[in-house]
């Protein structure tokens, strides 16, 4: 897809890296390519990306991959079998269910929680932060004090309080975690907004008669996006842990859903004699959290505006 106006056909790479892009699209594709190159140089980041991709694939094909039912077990015949038993690679739990199948199907819940929280919390934080930073004055003061109130409580405790009020369940856990995770995003977006609100391009847009809403949405929010994406990715590990924590306390996913935190909680009683029941979901949480952290770290390096363009 060479640009028709270019004099001679050039390689993809040169087209993407050109210092004089001919169109907006070429410019943004070029930027994305640079970012990807910087990202892919970081081996750990790629590992993280692969873990997350694997998680997504497992979640999509869980039904095909799982060797047994995740919810129906064999109480009398296959209870608390150790890992490596024939037919049960990771052992079975106290209801005689295959732990591997439960982990595979449970990945859906984990992924859904993370995605839903990100979809709810990030836009809310972004909107509140940019409006607050752009409007200033009492709007800023009010919004930021509300943010302060949320930030004043430890995240897990606040989520616990919300779930206790809303009633246990995975949907309520998602809402509770989303309610507690938007304030840092609002703070971040506000800080970015303050940095650009007085810059020349904003003044130019304003002179052209753009409404405040248009300025915030079209010209300020895009400036906040990269740091927000990094922050959300890094937070995902925390979201998984909070969801698992709620599940562990019996306030998250309810049986028979194979949520990883709930699985650890039910395995706790056997930790002295049947360690694998609690350990396997623990390892799953560890790996996925690690994946999100590595990915987030890599994204931060790749998206860092101070380094971009080089």
């Amino acid at each position: 897809m060479t640009d028709p106006s270019s004099p001679a056909p050039i390689s993809w790479r040169d087209w993407l890296l050109t210092a004089e892009p001919h169109s907006r699209r070429q410019a943004s594709l070029g930027r994305a390519y640079v970012t990807w190159r910087r990202f892919s140089e970081n081996r750990l980041a790629v590992t993280g990306l692969l873990i997350i991709l694997a998680l997504v694939l497992v979640a999509i094909f869980a039904d095909l991959l799982a060797p047994h039912s995740a919810t129906t077990g064999n109480l009398a015949g296959a209870r608390l079998l150790p890992p490596g038993s024939p037919d049960f690679l990771l052992g079975t739990d106290d209801q005689g269910r295959d732990i591997l199948s439960r982990l595979l199907v449970g990945s859906r819940i984990t992924l859904a929680v993370v995605a839903l929280v990100a979809i709810i919390a990030a836009p809310v934080g972004l909107l509140i932060g940019t409006v607050s930073g752009f409007a200033g004055g009492y709007v800023d003061a009010v919004l930021m004090r509300i943010t302060d109130i949320f930030l004043a409580f430890p995240k897990l405790i606040l989520a616990l309080a919300f779930v206790a009020a809303l009633g246990p369940g995975i949907e309520n856990a998602v809402i509770a975690i989303a309610l507690t995770s938007w304030p840092p995003y609002a703070r971040l977006a506000r800080a970015e907004t303050l940095g650009v609100r007085n810059s020349d391009y904003i003044a130019a847009v304003r002179l052209m008669g753009a409404s405040p809403a248009r300025i915030v949405i079209r010209h300020i929010m895009p400036m906040c996006l990269s740091s927000l994406i990094v922050r959300v990715t890094l937070d995902m590990a925390g979201i998984i842990l909070t969801a698992a924590g709620l599940g562990f306390l019996g306030l998250g996913a309810q049986p028979p859903l194979p949520e990883w935190g709930t699985m650890i909680a039910s395995g706790r009683r056997f930790i002295l004699d049947q360690w694998w029941v609690a350990t396997m979901p623990g390892i799953a949480i560890l790996i996925v959290s690690l994946g999100f952290n590595l990915l987030g770290d890599g994204l931060r390096d790749a998206l860092d505006p101070r380094e971009s363009g080089r």
């Binding site: 919810t71 109480l75 106290d94 005689g96 206790a164 306390l249 309810q254 028979p256 706790r268």
Partner: protein, 547 residues
């Protein structure tokens, strides 16, 4: 937020930390309990009072059972009968209303005061007038604050007469008298410690009958007396040398409050305690495998059941009730989830009570259940909820039931909650299904029969809130049969009536009884003569000795 819940997990953390310290300090400590003292690790956080006129909790019953004598007590060799304790003999008038008890002569309380008919009458009067939780047991006989001194009185120093309002079955009256509420108190000692109270609408008497003092002391004639009770710490008992029976072999008994199973197991293995009382299946198995430890178990008067609220139109269909009884994996649950702490039992009377049957007509049978559901017009299944308390083994059983119901196409949603939440909802008849336990209030079949089969008014305003009422079940003619059994004089005929009631509930009652609780304990092999009784107040410690 649910603070006890958080605290519980904090405790796990601190227990873990404590274990880490133990391991780090290198090697086990060889603590030994004193030779003349028995130390039991026991969760005693339920005790709110040691006053037999007020206490209605399991661990408190064990303390009062060991510190007070009764008029009559359960014969532990044949628990369908009672034998005299301070009573030497008794007669029943021909109309079945008046019981006359002759006391054994020359008995003494732990304080040295003589045991007289006056004390017996006072104990019942006090129980009725204070009107605390256990008072209803004697209230069943038509006693109230105004007539109790008339109905229960000392005829002479060694004779008490006791008048009831209906010609109840003799075994029923005697069984109720054998509960801890029937403890004989030392009138002189108790009234010395009584506090003056200003009478009010609710409480018409000018004395507290020593209630405040008795919360932490004892005034009985049992083999032991209470030295001290510190909440969530310990209860200390000392031998009563004035006891009229065989004196206790050990001088002192200490119940140490220990909540966690793992903690008790560790303390028992280290010799810090002699008996561990609250072991979970895993720890119990480990103790059973340890050559230095012995284990013991005894069936208790508590049954675990799932009930189906008849307000739900699906659950009210007789075929559905039957189908659900075929959808419990009795064998699987018995062999795993309740192994050692319960045995499969399907009738509502626990083994050991008069008339209890051991019929087990139901087996896990999905095909049969599907057939029944199809007959009820529910071949495609339906969705129901079940309120479940957040404790084991109830949660495990609920999860298993969820799976087995699923095999017949019924979708079960488990609604978890703590004991208070689930029970409040259950008592308000707002549940679909409920899983829980019922412990007999006294060792007589009427306790369970009444709650499972009596429901005089099935409307929401019903005053008699039995389990049948809670599940909106109208037991029709069973209600009258239960009342008739209560008045049947002949013990054998009475037993047959209860057998009949149990079979009918098994057939059509909305209760899926799953198992009867077994209490387990592990103890050091040095102990001799340790037994568990059929109820907590018959877990007697006087016979225990140490090598």
């Amino acid at each position: 937020m649910n603070m006890p819940f958080l605290m519980k997990h904090l405790r796990y953390l601190s227990a873990g930390a404590a274990m880490a310290v133990l391991i780090a300090s290198g090697g086990p400590s060889f603590a030994v309990t004193p030779a003349d003292t028995l130390v039991e690790g026991f969760a005693i956080d339920d005790i709110i009072s040691l006053d037999p006129g007020e206490a209605f909790e399991l661990s408190a019953a064990e303390v009062t059972g060991n510190t007070y004598s009764l008029l009559v007590r359960l014969d532990l060799d044949d628990t369908t009968k009672v034998k005299g304790d301070v009573a030497e003999s008794w007669t029943v008038s021909d109309d079945g209303l008046t019981y006359t008890f002759k006391l054994k002569p020359d008995l003494k309380f732990a304080s040295g005061n003589p045991v007289t008919a006056e004390d017996v009458a006072f104990s019942v009067e006090r129980l009725i007038k204070m009107d605390k939780s256990p008072a209803f047991l004697f209230g069943q006989f038509g006693l109230n604050g105004d007539n109790v001194t008339e109905k229960v009185k000392a005829v002479d120093p060694l004779t008490v007469s006791f008048t009831v309002d209906k010609p109840y079955a003799t075994s029923f009256v005697l069984n109720v008298l054998s509960s801890t509420a029937g403890s004989v108190l030392d009138k002189k000692l108790v009234m010395e410690h009584a506090k003056a109270v200003t009478p009010s609408e609710e409480y018409k008497w000018d004395t507290d009958f020593g209630n405040d003092w008795l919360k932490t002391n004892s005034a009985g004639s049992g083999p032991f007396k209470v030295v001290t009770w510190k909440a969530n710490e310990a209860v200390v008992l000392e031998r009563n040398d004035n006891y009229f029976g065989e004196l206790a072999k050990l001088k002192r008994v200490i119940y140490r409050h220990m909540k966690e199973s793992a903690g008790q197991r560790l303390a028992l293995e280290n010799g810090d305690i002699d008996i561990a009382r609250n072991l979970e299946p895993g720890d119990f198995d480990a103790a059973a495998a340890n050559p230095d430890l012995d284990t013991i178990s005894a069936p208790k008067g508590t049954v675990y059941y799932i009930s189906l609220n008849q307000k739900n139109p699906n659950l009210a269909k007789p075929e559905v009730i039957q189908a659900f009884k075929y959808l419990v994996d009795y064998d699987g649950i018995g062999a795993t989830l309740i192994k050692g702490i319960g045995e499969i039992h399907q009738s509502f009377l626990p083994k050991g009570q008069l008339g209890a049957i051991d019929d087990k007509p139901y087996k896990f049978d999905v095909a049969k259940a599907k057939e029944l559901l199809a007959k009820a017009g529910l071949a495609d299944g339906f969705t129901v909820t079940m309120d479940t308390r957040n404790t084991q083994p109830v949660t495990g059983i609920a999860e298993n039931f969820q799976q087995t119901l699923g095999q017949a196409g019924v979708k079960l949603e488990i609604i978890p909650g703590d004991g208070k939440q689930t029970l409040t909802k259950y008592r308000a008849r707002q549940h679909d299904m409920y899983i829980g336990q019922w412990g007999s209030d006294y060792f007589d079949p009427n306790s369970n029969a009444e709650t499972f089969t009596a429901n005089p008014d099935n409307s929401d305003e019903g005053k008699v809130k039995t389990l049948a009422w809670r599940n909106a079940w109208d037991p029709k003619e069973l209600d009258a049969e239960t009342k008739a059994a209560l008045l049947e004089k002949d013990a054998a005929k009475r037993a047959a009536m209860y057998e009949n009631l149990q079979r009918k509930v098994l057939e059509s009652g909305p209760f899926v009884v799953i198992y009867q609780q077994i209490e387990v304990a592990a103890y050091t092999a040095k102990l001799k003569g340790f037994k568990l009784g059929p109820s907590y107040d018959t877990n007697l410690v006087a016979s225990i000795s140490k090598e």
